[in-house]
Amino acid sequence: MAKPRVSFHDFTSCEGCQLQVLNCEDELLGIVGAVDIVNFREAIDEKSDEYDIAFIEGAFTRESDRKRLEHIRKCAKIVVALGACACTGGLNVLKNFRGIDESMKKVYGEAASWYETSPALPIEAAIKVDVKINGCPIPKQEFLEVVKSVLAGRTPQIPDYPVCVECKLRENVCLFQKGEYCMGVVAKAGCNAWCPSYGGRCYACRGLITDFNKNAAKDVLAEYGLTLEQVMAEFRMFNGVFPVAEPPADGALKS
């Protein structure tokens, strides 16, 4: 059987998720043996390219990139969004809140009109995505799980419960108890509570659990005295595309 052909592409990103792939040093040679990597940090003209699985890193932030995305979609059987930038637009979405023209002026001054840009969006705004690997950066274990399942033709096991579950299993002292606040209550697990385990707050870089609106999370936050502003600011860092990043009209979070 021919080895599946795999390609990597990047749009607006820091390339940290592709580096996470390289960071699987111990498994890397195994992966390289099991697939044909046809495009990864190399210059290969996609137009003549054939691949089965396309990993796409980065947000969609420039209308002229739409064609490139559509082309990748057409070539690939399976499209995997690699990391927060691709899955939700990631932190790039912050610029949408700062005003695009204003941002460009601030950085480039008079020269702003030389360069093309548009609001930052997830790649799903342009093409259909089959699998998402969340996180900023992606956790290595999840990348490996997705690669193995895609190769075996099964659906990858990706949790849809809050980071708190993993955090409690790791027996971390909850940041709320230290007078801090944390988005772990509504963030999608799968990172093994990475940040709280190293003393950092969870910013929900992996996105929000599906039913975060229904479950008690918001009440929990309010209970801990989190202000609406704080929650919005934290959500915005990585979840600007979700409606929750705009203050709800009814002020539901106000205690």
Binding site: Q20, A43, T61
Partner: protein, 434 residues
């Protein structure tokens, strides 16, 4: 008859590409020759405004995943500076260890994955995995030291968690640190083997020279990397707070990354600039590597940045061994590591030598510690004008002796030698001849 050259990439029709090389020459005369950067504008300096001091480094480390620790380091130094924070020796030691880890990891990636395939005539590192498996395994083993160190100290290398203004939010256990130390020591022979490997391919780089202005940090006590004063080979030593007197930014239409100049039309940063400015302070291992590779300061062959990086791998490795030894004897506790930060209004500046060269972060905070203004100057951006000038000197020198394809390949290697952030370096390097 003079030759006509037209090297051009139309970035809108070409797919994966953040940078292009454009060369146009007719009748043996070069009319146009530059590196185009068409990366999407990311406007970090605007996104950062309105963020709390706790989040500024979290955002700006995401400028580049490969230099994530370097960006975090410059960023938190800017915040430390703005708030007037004092650091304990323990915090300083762990910060430096993480930065050394990143310098080694990034240089190893560049030398083995980008420069070596070029020199060995392979399209990428992938064919080397079957033709030179032991070399690729060595590269992966050495590269991993970045992760081993950063995972233990700050949770991860790509966007470190515990590395924050004023200190660390996590206390690494002695047990974990012992494992880190063992890992570092295990690489001893790999360092020598790396110097050997590069010495063997060093002859493959073109002999080309252009005198240039080297800009880097300099430090009275060490080969500067974490902090220090700003040194220009043309204008001398400056306080870092005066960086804007040396690094003048300006926009050019062909690049979404700003260009930079000082006294001349361009300046250079990076391993070779550090080496040129501070070679006398290299440790014994670094000196030995330089000798083996035949690298002498000042060196004006930009292709030899690859060699300077190799010298730095040897130097930084021994520095990491020494520092690790000191860290094992230190009292690492919450009392010595936990950040103690009181924000205040003011401006702070952080300059750090990251793998690709000097990095500047400059923030202004209000009294609540909310960022109101920021400027980040990235090493790849600082080198762009210099790359243009190198190409403009190189092409006329070889236009009548080398073929179009050869010149195209030489220019690709030239750009790669500067080790521009991977997003530019790796995608641009297919040159269309029109």
């Amino acid at each position: 008859m003079g030759k006509t050259l037209d090297i051009n990439i139309h970035h809108l029709t070409r797919v994966e590409g953040h940078g292009n090389i454009i060369v146009r020459a007719s009748d043996g005369k070069v009319e146009k020759c530059h590196l185009q950067i068409v990366e999407t504008p990311r406007v970090f300096e605007s996104m950062i405004c309105g963020l709390s001091w706790r989040d500024t480094a979290m955002l700006t480390c995401r400028i580049c995943g490969i230099c994530s620790v370097g960006h975090t380091t410059a960023s938190i130094q800017a915040t430390d500076d703005a708030f007037g924070l004092k650091l304990t020796p323990e915090v300083l030691a762990l910060r430096k260890l993480m930065l050394l880890a990143e310098e080694i990891q990034s240089h190893v990636l560049h030398v083995y994955f980008l420069a070596a395939p070029d020199a060995l005539g392979a399209g990428s590192v992938l064919p080397l995995a079957s033709s030179h498996p032991e070399v690729v395994k060595r590269a992966l083993r050495m590269k991993k030291v970045g992760n081993v160190i950063c995972d233990a100290v700050a949770g991860r290398h790509v966007h470190p968690i515990a590395l924050v203004p004023g200190g660390f939010t996590h206390v690494p256990s002695k047990k974990d640190l012992k494992k880190v130390q063992d890992y570092i020591l295990m690489l001893n022979d790999d360092v020598d083997a790396t110097v050997e490997t590069v010495a063997a391919i060093g002859g493959a780089f073109p002999k080309f020279e252009r005198e240039r202005e080297d800009v880097s940090l300099t430090h009275p006590d060490e080969y500067a990397f974490y902090n220090g004063q700003l040194k220009s080979s043309k204008t001398g030593v400056h306080d870092i707070h005066d960086y804007a007197k040396v690094i003048h930014e300006f926009c050019v239409e062909h690049s979404t990354s700003k260009h930079v100049r000082n006294v001349d039309a361009c300046l250079a940063v990076g391993a070779l600039s550090r080496f040129n400015n501070n070679a006398a302070q290299l440790n014994d291992r670094g000196q030995a590597a330089a000798k083996k590779l035949g690298l002498k300061a000042p060196c004006y062959n930009p292709y030899y940045n690859n060699l300077a990086q190799t010298v730095e791998i040897a130097h930084f490795y021994d520095e990491a061994v020494k520092l690790m030894d000191q860290i094992m004897k230190m009292d690492l506790t919450e009392a010595t590591l936990a950040p103690n930060v009181t924000p205040k209004a003011g401006r702070g500046i952080g300059l750090t030598e990251v793998p690709r060269g000097l990095l500047v972060h400059d923030y202004t905070y209000d009294e609540k510690g909310v960022c109101t203004k920021a400027n980040c100057i990235i090493p790849t951006g600082m080198n762009l004008a210099n790359i243009d000038h190198d190409m403009q000197k190189y092409v006329p020198e070889v236009i009548n002796t080398r073929t179009q394809d050869q010149i195209g390949h030489d220019l690709e290697m030239l750009v790669r030698s500067y080790d521009p952030c991977i997003s530019c370096s790796v995608h641009l390097l297919k040159v269309d001849w029109v």
